[in-house]
């Protein structure tokens, strides 16, 4: 069995790949009478290089799914495996480190830092991890080029269009060569044409770099680019 080049922590996982595995995930938020089941026995396996879209109305549990997959929330029961390691078994500190090294987030409206240029946005994750070196700078330039922002490398977020911001956010998420890429409503601030372009770019990068990508969206028009599409209703995945 060969392991994808981008994934250096692949172990012999039941899925047979480095990707993302969610097993029997249940997430209950709040307690007592106000308890809400956000995720109800969810299972999902995404292989490296695969692009999965999860669609559903707001409140269906999509964001909770991302939060659990990305280690921001601990599920009430069930396990999350990333690149063969069990994320749910880690301590808070280790989970933070795993987020930093193996998980890439693309947030709604991209969520860039106001004072940083596009290039600096990309360098930040590696600075946080203490790995900001010449190789990192080269990689940043390569990624900026890959998302078509070379002419914008020195611009700050307020100088960028919505589409450009989204692309910068994607490039930042890819900086650490994550095993898993989690994308939250990438098109909420974009028009139809730019939405299609943005999702196409995510699909390309997923296939090219071998990330296990999960995108949640309520925008059914952008699902075509995905390899598989799931629907989420009331915390259940179908």
């Amino acid at each position: 069995m060969t392991t994808p080049a981008t994934d250096h922590r692949v172990a012999s996982d039941a899925a047979g790949s480095g990707g993302l595995r969610l097993l029997d995930i249940t997430l209950t938020l709040g307690d007592g009478d106000t308890a809400v089941t956000a995720l109800d026995d969810v299972g999902l396996t995404v292989a490296a290089g695969e692009f999965v879209a999860v669609v559903g109305p707001s409140g269906s549990g999509k964001s909770s799914l991302l939060a659990v997959a990305g280690g921001l929330l601990k599920p009430t029961s069930g396990t999350v495996h990333i690149a063969g390691a069990e994320l749910t078994a880690l301590s808070d500190k280790e989970r933070t480190a795993a987020r930093r090294r193996h998980i890439g987030f693309v947030f709604q409206q991209s969520n860039l830092l106001a004072s940083l240029t596009v290039r600096e946005q990309l360098l930040l994750p590696l600075h946080i991890d203490g790995r900001l070196d010449a190789a990192a700078r080269t990689r940043a330039d390569e990624l900026i080029d890959a998302v078509g922002l070379s002419h914008r490398a020195g611009s700050r977020p307020h100088q960028l269009s919505g589409g450009e911001r989204q692309r910068a956010g994607l490039a930042r998420a890819l900086m650490t060569s994550p095993a898993v890429l989690l994308v939250d409503e990438p098109t909420s601030a974009l028009d139809r044409v730019r939405s299609a372009e943005a999702v196409q770019l995510i699909a390309e990068q997923t296939h090219e770099r071998g990330t296990a990508t999960v995108m949640v969206t309520h925008d059914t028009a952008i699902m075509d680019a995905a390899d598989r599409v799931y629907e989420m209703v009331d915390g259940r995945l179908t």
């Binding site: 964001s63 921001l72 933070t96 947030f107 409503e185």
Partner: protein
Amino acid sequence: MFLALRDLRFARGRFALMGAVVALIAVLGVLLSGLASGLADAGISGLRALPMTHMAFDEKATSEQFSRSTVEQEDWQEWSKAPGVERAEPFGNTLANAQVTQGAEKGEQVNLAVFGMAPDSPLAPDPARGESLRESGAGIVITREIADLGVEIGDILTADRSEVRLEVVGLVDETISYGHIGVSYTDLDTWRHLHYGLPGDLPEAARQQATAVALTLEPGADVAAVEKATATRADAKQATFDASPGYAAESSTMALIKGFLYAISALVVGAFFTVWTVQRKAEIALLKALGAPTGYILRDALAQVVAVLVGATAVGTAAGLALGSAMIGKAPFSLSAPAIATSSGLLIGLGTVGAIVAVRRITAVDPLTALGATR
């Protein structure tokens, strides 16, 4: 400081405003320190210059001892025999008015803070020009402040009331003051004439009196017995400063003003960084979601705080020093490096404390809020 420096540059307007407040407080801090040391110099530099470790006052005088205390000859004799006492010397202190009756500035009124001592005692001055004190002849040694009035060596001053003729025999070329008046040194008998306002021969009782006993004690000397025997109380040199007119009130007023200033500065810095941190909440959540440990974000924020405080304090201190140098000579003002270092250090230190309280809320930010649905 990856993010902190870029935030400083990006939001430079806001940081400049806050920095300006800190810098102005630093200016005020330097000026207040200068004024405090200037007032201290004017109040007690004469006492500070005396070679002694303690001073024994009449135990009945509990405040303003220099004008209320009287000691007798047997007191200082008793003190000099006591164990642990290296030296005990009579010391006289009085304020007197005199007129220049012979010299270039004839007719000029002069205020004198007169220190009386035995001419052969270590308390006696060592004049830069002229002669030292002598046992008889009513000579005085003046200091800079009186010389600045035009009084010169060889001039004769005549004291009010006692009509004692004082011949200026020497000059100590330094500004030495007591109670905001330039100090003059004289022998004990002349001091007694001035103190009691008596012309002619002194009564027998007065001839054996002084204000206090200047002491040099061995470290840790136990003087309780001799204090009891002589009905005197030995104060450490530092404590005698409070016995001079107005000194305690002046220094506590200055300390109060400075204390308020530092408190205000800590609050301003704390308030600014509270608002700043609250504004950054979304970015902090994002950083945490990206996997930044809380320690990384706190370090970044504190580096920013310290950079702003140190920069602003340095600018303000430099401006304060420039302003202060212009004030020397026009006001009781003197720049002392330790006082200014303390003032700047406190400003930075307390500002940092204020900011730490503010940036602590970084720890409470939930990275989950970086995800759309919960925003």
